[in-house]
Amino acid sequence: MPRLTINGQEVEVPQGTLLIEACARVTEKPPHFCYHPGLRPDGNCRMCMVKIEGMRGVSISCTLPAAEGMVVSTEHPEVLAARRGVMEFLLIHHPLDCPVCDKAGECILQDHSYDHGRGASRYIEPKIVRPKRDLGPRIALWPERCIRCSRCTRFLDEVTGTSELAFFERGDRTDLDIFPGRPIDNPLSLNIVDICPVGALISKDFLFRARVWNLRKKASVCAACSRGCNVVLESYEGKLTRLVPRPNPHVNHHWMCDHGRLSHAYVHDPRRPRQIVKREDARSFNVALPEALEAIRAGLEAVRAAHGAAAVGGLVTAWLTNEELHLAGRLLRDVLGARRLVALAAPPGEAYVAKSGFRIAADRNPNRAGLEAVLGLVPDDEAVRALAADIETGAIRALLVLGGMPAPAYPEELVAVASRLELLVVQDLVPSALLDRAHIVLPAAAAPEKHGSFINDDGRVQRLEPLLVPPVPGGDLGILGALLRALGDRPPGGGGAVGVFADLAARNERFQGLTFQELGDLGRPRRGAEDRPRPPHAAGE
């Protein structure tokens, strides 16, 4: 554990800590462009210089391990002069088109230019002009803005191992590009847009959609697969506009996949059910929640009176949070004594493991582990078919379908027998044949509208924070709480995510010792799950 002095302050850091990270412990991290904590240091931009006593000149802090007895200054006059020099060179050919650049507002070249630049250029020669060009289905390049820091090429070399980008030519002709006919189309490609320190690499999906300083943000979790990558949800004018990864060494490090970023179109799909609908004699009405609840209560009562409690069935999905699943279990098992409670499975996607070890799960049920931990259920289409068989024989007469999913996956068998039900309540995110047959339609909340927690496929309990307002105020948790109340029960812990989670932790040993608040931004392992950060780089490298 070397001890060193930085800006007059003593600090002790673990062996092998880079000087730039050691500096960050006592002061602001030295300004830098090419250094990124998720990539191997390269030391090419020369911006992160510090003065080390006893060493000639200035040294870059991103490649140098902190050593015992070092005396370091991040604000030495030589350092400040060197930074100004680096900034001047970087800006020589930069177009300074911030007003029309997507990156403006989150651009480190812009930030460092304010802090360390001259404010005016002494360069009078013509600037290099290179028009923008396409690099693949999701990414475009504004070559003039590139400062050749190589973060993108290192990401594609180290993390995906696909190396689609390289620098061609050299000197002032150096040009970042793909090989002709070999576009960037790997599952993690959009990360290079995030780590680009300037506006050179641009996401076509986000291009010109919002100025970043107008975005509202919430730290949450991606729901596109069971991995649970930590993300920041960002919205503009009430619309989910962008998802960016939020570093978590236990889950996704600094990255997330393109699928996760781009799989939220359903949230603002105009066909998405947003109204509570009651259908009677082939006519449908928009109704308020109390009227729907009363219809559900009456319908359940009629079925239970005529056929017994066992004539009720339930179907849930892994888009319900742990808290919602806890209320759903209480409703269906404890209050209604349902005959069958089954979970619908999302069709599997493609599994992917990057060179660095970053994973995309084939399992596209985001809270599969929660479903198992809270209700002991596994998403299983066979169980749904068995439920359909029970409906066919008349053993089940009322069915509550809760949670929904972004792509309808109800088995044919279930849809075929749906009209036999005396009461069919369907809550979903998208239209489906089953939804069309429902007596009561309840809009489901999408993941970016939820307050609650998911468990990822490592057993990590992670918080979702609502960025958007769900179609029904209070979301799924609110609907479930209201349903419990309508049936004479009451939701535990007041019915909010925090209280319901506390009740879950008190009753379910897998959640023992956890509180919703203590999950924090990075989550906590559920009881019995491993808690070990993974190294950011591939083993053996």
Partner: protein, 157 residues
Amino acid sequence: MSLAFSERARAEIDRLLARYPTRGAATLPVLRVAEREFGGIDDDVMVLVADTLDLSPAQVRGVFSFYTHLRRPGWGKYVLQVCATLSCALRGCEGLADHLEARLGIRAGQTTPDRRFTLLKVECLARCGESPVLQVNDDMYVNVTPAKADAILESLP
């Protein structure tokens, strides 16, 4: 498209690979082999070299384009490289380049219509003490005057 190295070239590449710590480290010498084998490096050759070395085509193109000394598609039979770096510039390489441009009727960077000559201005060829320097394919000529250049060109088969 189905480009492949000859038996002989492959044997040479295997010998080269044994001398380097990684396959990628042998990019330049293997590009040299490919240049001899195919008479120049075009996109198809770069893809073949990439496949041979377990690299991406972009990585090979990055190395190839960094250097000026590997033959590019469309270059003529004789590639005339006029050094345009400082020492040669002080000793009159501009005049040499202008003379060659006038004689061949092309600008630096271009190839004569008969594909006999390609004229290039390049960075330092490392013979500063005897500047100006002209390199014709792999042969180096020093202290080159316009008259000497004429003689060199006329002597070419």
